[in-house]
């Protein structure tokens, strides 16, 4: 019989050594940078082509062009029409997808090793010989317009996009990638072709691959199928960082809503800021994980919500600090007041114990960020998008370790700005408006669904 004292927390066994998988940085024959991680275990390969061709290049009267272009890219290429091309991927059991945001369009493929070459060959047709046929254009455009209609039903989308509109103003990050009904209606198939030629160029592209093929095999395959991709474009898209304003309260009416969707935050620094690591530690304490202050308060103490979090999002040209939650509509005002208390509180005091907890969390979870091929590739992708040195990954745990408590506290003062917030709540007007009005200093302003001021 083992005598067990359960009140003693077990101490960890000896630390396991973890080495980040080796990353190779090579170039294709046409000059494209390719980053490769070799991982054996399973017979699979993941690769993605990252092109800096996102909705930041949308003409101001044709928002949604980049997104629509990304949908049309794989609707037929080379000798295959849309159905035939899809059929070729379906035969392989490969998962191919195109995704687009403000900064990039990414073509990704997850495939069995034995089907990787054929998958790449198909992707090369999409990159080099997309068809952009009128009938496919009409169908996909209609689908986007109907999707935009459907988004009126989704309070979380409405809240996020109105919040981004208020934070980023008229700059390109202030509009959703999908565009609006009016702007998408203006887009023609020629606009799509032109957008593709103008932005989807090899000089704008980077490649990441991970999986069960040798580096030379991967490079050879890309060289074999992508050698003709040799185009360039002017990659400069002017971005003027919008300023921050005095804290403002906004609401959007959504009738019969069971909850209100709340977004609070402001524009913040870019990913390459020198206090990135202290800020990450600070946000881990504030709202970056389950036991954070914001979630503990709003969920575990008060039961206002199923969950609440804060995060720093990094775009290519700027950053966004955002608190996001959905609360019982009756608690809208109280929830906002509690969030504001937490934002002030993190500036006033952070204990050594909290910092040690956050550092331990970030350091020890690091190896789990390399479990799947997709995760490995996403780590590399983030370096490429933000033009960061490899040291950001290889030296990550040391950087977390060596951040001082003063730096963490200073990051709260410098990056959490309670006087310059955009506060958006989406819910039924009669309930939300009354509650916002009661918050000291609040003069609630009503917005339409797209975040424009109602006049």
């Amino acid at each position: 019989m083992i005598m067990l004292n359960r009140s003693d927390t077990p101490t960890p066994a000896k630390d396991l050594l973890f080495n980040i998988p080796e990353m190779k940085f090579l170039k294709l024959g046409n000059g494209i940078d390719i980053s490769i991680v070799h991982k054996e275990k399973l017979p699979i390969v993941y690769a993605e082509i990252i092109v800096f061709s996102g909705s930041r290049f949308d003409p101001s009267d044709k928002k949604g062009l980049g997104y629509l272009t990304s949908l049309l890219m794989d609707e037929g290429a080379g000798e295959f029409d849309a159905l035939q091309l899809s059929e070729e991927f379906e035969k392989l059991g490969s998962v191919f997808s195109v995704s687009a945001d403000h900064d990039t369009t990414i073509l990704s493929i997850l495939s069995l090793t034995e089907n990787f070459e054929r998958s790449l060959e198909l992707i090369s047709k999409i990159v080099l010989k997309p068809r952009f046929e009128e009938k496919d254009f009409q169908r996909e455009k209609k689908k986007v317009l109907d999707r935009i209609l459907q988004l009126k039903d989704e309070p979380s989308f409405i809240a996020s996009s109105a919040f981004e509109r208020r934070v980023f103003g008229d700059s390109y990050y202030g509009f959703p990638e999908i565009g609006s009904a009016e702007s998408v209606a203006r887009i023609s198939n020629d606009d799509v072709k032109d957008f593709f030629v103008r932005t989807f160029t090899s000089s704008n592209a980077k490649i990441v691959a991970a999986g069960n093929l040798k580096e030379t095999e991967i490079v050879n395959l890309f060289d074999k199928y992508f050698n003709e991709w040799n185009s360039s474009s002017d990659n400069n898209q002017y971005f003027k960082t919008p300023g921050r304003n005095k804290t403002s309260y906004y609401f959007i009416h959504k009738s019969d809503s069971a909850q209100s969707e709340i977004r609070i935050g402001h524009i913040s620094k870019k990913r390459d800021a020198n206090d990135f690591i202290p800020t990450k530690i600070m946000n881990t304490i504030l709202g970056g994980q389950f036991s954070s202050r914001i979630n503990s308060n709003l969920r575990e103490k008060r039961g206002f919500t199923y969950g609440a979090n804060s995060s720093f999002h990094y775009y290519k040209e700027t950053g966004l600090f955002e608190i996001s939650t959905a609360v019982n509509i009756e608690n809208t005002g109280e929830a906002i007041i509690e969030i504001l208390k937490e934002l002030n509180g993190i500036r006033e005091h952070i204990s050594d114990e909290e910092i040690n907890f956050a550092k331990s969390y970030l350091i020890k979870q690091f190896p789990s960020r390399f479990e799947t091929l997709n995760q490995i590739a996403k780590n590399l992708e983030s370096l490429l998008i933000h033009s960061l040195p490899i040291d950001e990954l290889t030296n990550y745990t040391n950087k977390v370790k060596s951040a001082t408590n003063e730096e963490v506290r200073a990051s709260a003062i410098n990056n959490v700005l309670p006087d310059e917030l955009v506060i958006v709540a989406v819910g039924d007007r009669k309930k939300v408006f009354e509650q916002l009005k009661q918050i000291s200093g609040a003069e609630p302003i009503e917005l339409d669904m797209y975040g424009n001021l109602l006049t």
Partner: protein, 424 residues
């Protein structure tokens, strides 16, 4: 390596004297250990008037136990760099944590403390708090989502009122609000015993050390009487039934649901493949017809949902503006009839099988998914090493079986749910 080798799981299974099943699956190629614990209880063990309890209880399991303070479970695991969660379905509740391998003992301590010593940590305040959280979960995930109540409308109408699948796992709001501390205690005492649970440990650990640790932390927990299996009457619809529900939606959506078969029944994998052939890709039958060619639907999806007691095949499709659900239904019916009368091609079947095989292999990248799968197979088949068997269920399916299943199930009376925009 062949698929066969990849999917062969080298495990060890045994039971403690209190009845806890233990399955060890070492894999030294990963830096973590995954602990995955299934309790054989879910919403199917509930009854009308007390729905949602298994799920609410799952929340209470994170509220601390005799030696772990409220929120302590999360804090300990996160400080160790681990991840954790739990989930509830009709027939089981699972809890899992993936930790750096040297923290295996911490995870076992936490899981065993709440298995053996949960009640001393319980109080009214914690229960009231989690009732609020769960009510907000219900609002956020179902009530405030477009079409969010479809699932519970379907199941409460497809199954008779006394059938355990007729209420949603999260429960009815009026039941959640009424739960009392005494309910929590009784539920714990009845279902959360070692004899009603199975523990899988996967990843980087030493086999004999894991055995020692499991005995150390779980061995002293008392076993209780075995639980009676839930039984349910066989369900069928004499005639088709139609329900209309008004919601905050712009576009109407139709759902068609048929009674089918339970998990791992001979038709179960066949129906999965049928679903794949009907809606999974651009060239799938119904997608191609309704979304791509005729452009009358914005989307279409289908699945065979199967559990321990029963199963259902469901097709859902959103109408484009100006298109009636009647029209959508006609085209779906036409597509199914055509599949039955003209058959499917070898190519269609091959694509569906390749799709399933690939996603199977892709899923082997994550040790937490593998351990959950081992528990899944242990639960349904009493054989943890069923990866190959499961895949072979699909590989053996013939074209004739697919057509036969479509004929046998999808031509029977069905339940039709229409979710339509609110009339002002």
């Amino acid at each position: 390596m062949t698929t066969k080798n990849l999917l062969k799981i080298d495990y060890e299974k045994y039971s403690l004297s209190n009845g806890l099943q233990v399955i060890l699956y070492p894999d030294l190629s990963v830096p973590v250990a995954a602990v995955n614990l299934w309790y054989r209880v879910g919403s199917a063990n509930e009854r009308n008037g007390k729905t949602g309890f298994a799920h609410l209880f799952e929340h209470m399991m994170f509220q601390g136990s005799q030696n772990v303070p409220k929120e302590g479970h999360f804090k300990f695991i996160q400080e160790a760099g681990g991840s954790l969660n739990g989930s509830t379905s009709f027939e089981r509740t699972n809890y899992y944590e993936t930790v750096p391998a040297n923290y295996l003992e911490l995870a076992l301590w936490l899981e065993s403390d709440r298995m053996g010593f949960m009640l001393p940590g319980l109080n009214q305040e914690k229960l009231d708090n989690q009732k609020d959280v769960v009510m907000n979960e219900r609002r956020q995930r179902y009530e405030n989502q477009p079409y969010g109540l479809a699932w519970e409308k379907l199941f409460s109408n497809l199954f008779s009122q006394d059938h355990p699948y007729s209420w949603p796992t999260i429960g009815w709001m009026e039941d959640i609000i009424k739960f009392e501390l005494d309910d929590v205690k009784k539920f714990f005492e009845k279902y959360y015993s070692p004899g009603n649970a199975s523990l899988v440990i996967g990843g980087n650990f030493d086999r004999s050390n894991a055995q020692y640790l499991v005995e150390k932390y779980f061995g002293e927990i008392n076993g209780t009487a075995p639980i009676q299996e839930v039984i349910a009457t066989k369900q069928s619809l004499d005639k088709s039934k139609k329900i209309i529900y008004e919601d905050n939606v712009q576009l109407p959506r139709i759902y068609l649901a048929w009674h089918t078969v339970k998990a791992f029944h001979e038709h179960d994998a066949v129906l999965d493949l049928l679903s794949d052939i009907l809606t999974s890709s651009k060239n799938s039958r119904l997608y191609k017809s309704l979304v791509f060619e005729k452009q009358i639907a914005q989307d279409i999806s289908s699945f065979q949902y199967s559990g321990k007691l029963d199963g259902s095949f469901i097709i859902a499709s959103t109408a484009k503006p100006g298109i009636t659900l009647e029209k959508i239904k006609d085209e779906i019916t036409k597509g199914i009839d055509e599949l039955i009368s003209k058959g499917i091609t070898e190519n269609e079947l091959m694509k569906a099988k390749n799709n399933i095989k690939s996603s199977y292999i892709f899923s082997l990248q994550k040790i937490d998914l593998i351990t959950d799968h081992i528990n899944h197979y242990n639960f349904y088949l009493d054989e943890p090493d069923s990866f190959l068997f499961d895949l072979s269920r699909y590989e053996q399916v013939t074209r004739e079986q697919i057509i036969h299943a479509a004929q046998k199930f999808l031509t029977k009376p069905n339940l039709e749910l229409n979710i339509i925009p609110k009339t002002m």
